[in-house]
Symmetry: C2
DNA sequence: GCATGTATGATTGTCGACAGCAGTGCGACC
DNA sequence: GGTCGCACTGCTGTCGACAATCATACATGC
């Protein structure tokens, strides 16, 4: 039985895309950092992790170099690599870069009057709204980052999407690096609402302003400047993880995928 | 004799920053790609290049993975790595990403009324003007890319600068990948003049518009759509290189540098 | 007691080697 | 004559091993 997607004038077979072992390891490492399985500042024990992944040190080190290039790992000669710390001194640069990417993504969507793109962002926004009703800080944080990635991804620019995927993980690292633990603001949906409104009104400046304001709020939250000013905002804090011995799953070669 | 820069209240010694071997190799590879020593689409012969660099295959492969992450090298399982081809299908995404980064850099400079930043860009612009008087296509191309990097670098955001440094090399790869060879427009200074004017007038929208227009012109030049439309613009073409056997210099450990 | 020097253990950085795969050319077969 | 099959060659992907380096703890001396 032919596959339903088999098209008449389409080429008989699609080009197969085989991910290399290094690809798989790099993805695994990124996920481990994003999920917190690899804690901030923790050294990357090559022999141990290589054993957990079921590979040798060579491909692991090669994959790790990709994350070094992304800024997710830092390497010091003689001391190996550790999960990068995104301290307060880097917050301005990081979130300003996000403003650059996300506001331009919004401008692209608006310039094209791309209804489908807005619908995608709306979907992510709805999910954020539902999640924000609960008190799971991590889930809210995930939905938040998903929203921002969806915004950039909806602009349909592979280059910006790839850069954004790194920015997302770095943002997560900034939260993990915070002295106050993993905290999200309860009013997080409000600033997102401004972004959605800008998109729906096809108002690029309004969307860009909302994004800029949202990033300022994020930096304020992470630096704790709000508490210093005596401003009270309701937040949700994740109970600190046991930081126990994590375990990375072994690399499993996925079935040959078509692209 | 104490160094003149020794400050009274500064820490006695600065933190030393030792570049790792992988750092040096990665820089060497980037330069080789930027200069064209490693031609587009050419496979990365690991044994040969490792021998030229005076290192083993392991650190070379690790360094190469950094360039894979940057998109400067592409890796296919079983076929090793080759210098990436930035074909016409990727031009839109690439230059749109540059618009995002560069226009935001301009906005940052303008928002801060940063005179020193404008002066830096002006310096790069002057150099471009002088170079454009000649007919050395490659030199003009270098000055062009230097200008755009200077613009982003002047915004004083390490994150964006790092991303821009990759975008610069990718842009160079786009020129190398062009079927028409390495070509620069004679009227290249005009569109840059608009950018400079926007900065000097502290007019963010004017600067952003000029940047956007500049990128459109660049894409038009690379896709050859101008010729198709019968529009004639004066260009300078670099005579094709002999494509002879290049040679990468051996890795030399620089003296311990202070950061 | 504090600082300095030393031994130890673990971990990284690098290398050479080997198996396996991909591309190529030749030859056989339909 | 074209297609298929097969051996060959070069290269990659992966591994284990070794030396150099770093961090830690301990001992020594002032």
């Amino acid at each position: 039985m032919p596959h339903p997607s088999a098209h008449r004038n389409a080429p008989a077979v699609l080009r197969v895309h085989r991910p290399s072992t290094v690809d798989l390891i790099a993805t695994e490492l990124r996920n481990a950092i994003y999920s917190g399985a690899l804690a901030v500042r923790s050294p990357l024990r090559e022999v141990e992790i290589a054993r957990q992944l079921g590979v040798s040190r060579s491909p692991l080190r090669e994959a790790a170099q990709r994350l070094v290039q992304e800024g997710l790992l830092t390497a010091k000669p003689g001391q190996g690599m550790r999960v990068a710390v995104v301290g307060e001194d880097r917050l301005d640069d990081l979130f300003e870069a996000r403003v650059a990417v996300e506001s331009h993504a919004a401008r692209m969507i608006i310039d094209k009057h791309d209804d489908a793109a807005v619908a995608k962002v709306q979907s992510a926004f709805d999910h954020l709204l539902r999640t924000a009703e609960g008190n799971d800080a991590r889930a809210i944080g995930d939905a938040d980052l998903d929203f921002h990635f969806a915004l950039v991804d909806a602009a349909d620019n592979a280059h910006l999407s790839r850069y954004m995927s790194t920015l997302v993980v770095e943002t997560r690292l900034a939260s993990f690096s915070s002295k106050r633990g993993y905290v999200v603001r309860k009013d997080i949906t409000q600033s997102h609402h401004g972004i959605m409104a800008g998109l729906q009104d096809w108002d690029a400046e309004a969307a860009a302003d909302a994004i800029r304001e949202h990033m300022v709020e994020a930096v304020d939250r992470l630096t704790g400047v709000l508490e210093e000013r005596g401003v009270h905002v309701e937040t949700v804090t994740e109970e600190p993880t046991p930081a126990g011995a994590y375990a990375l799953g072994p690399i499993t070669q996925p079935l040959t995928e078509l692209s």
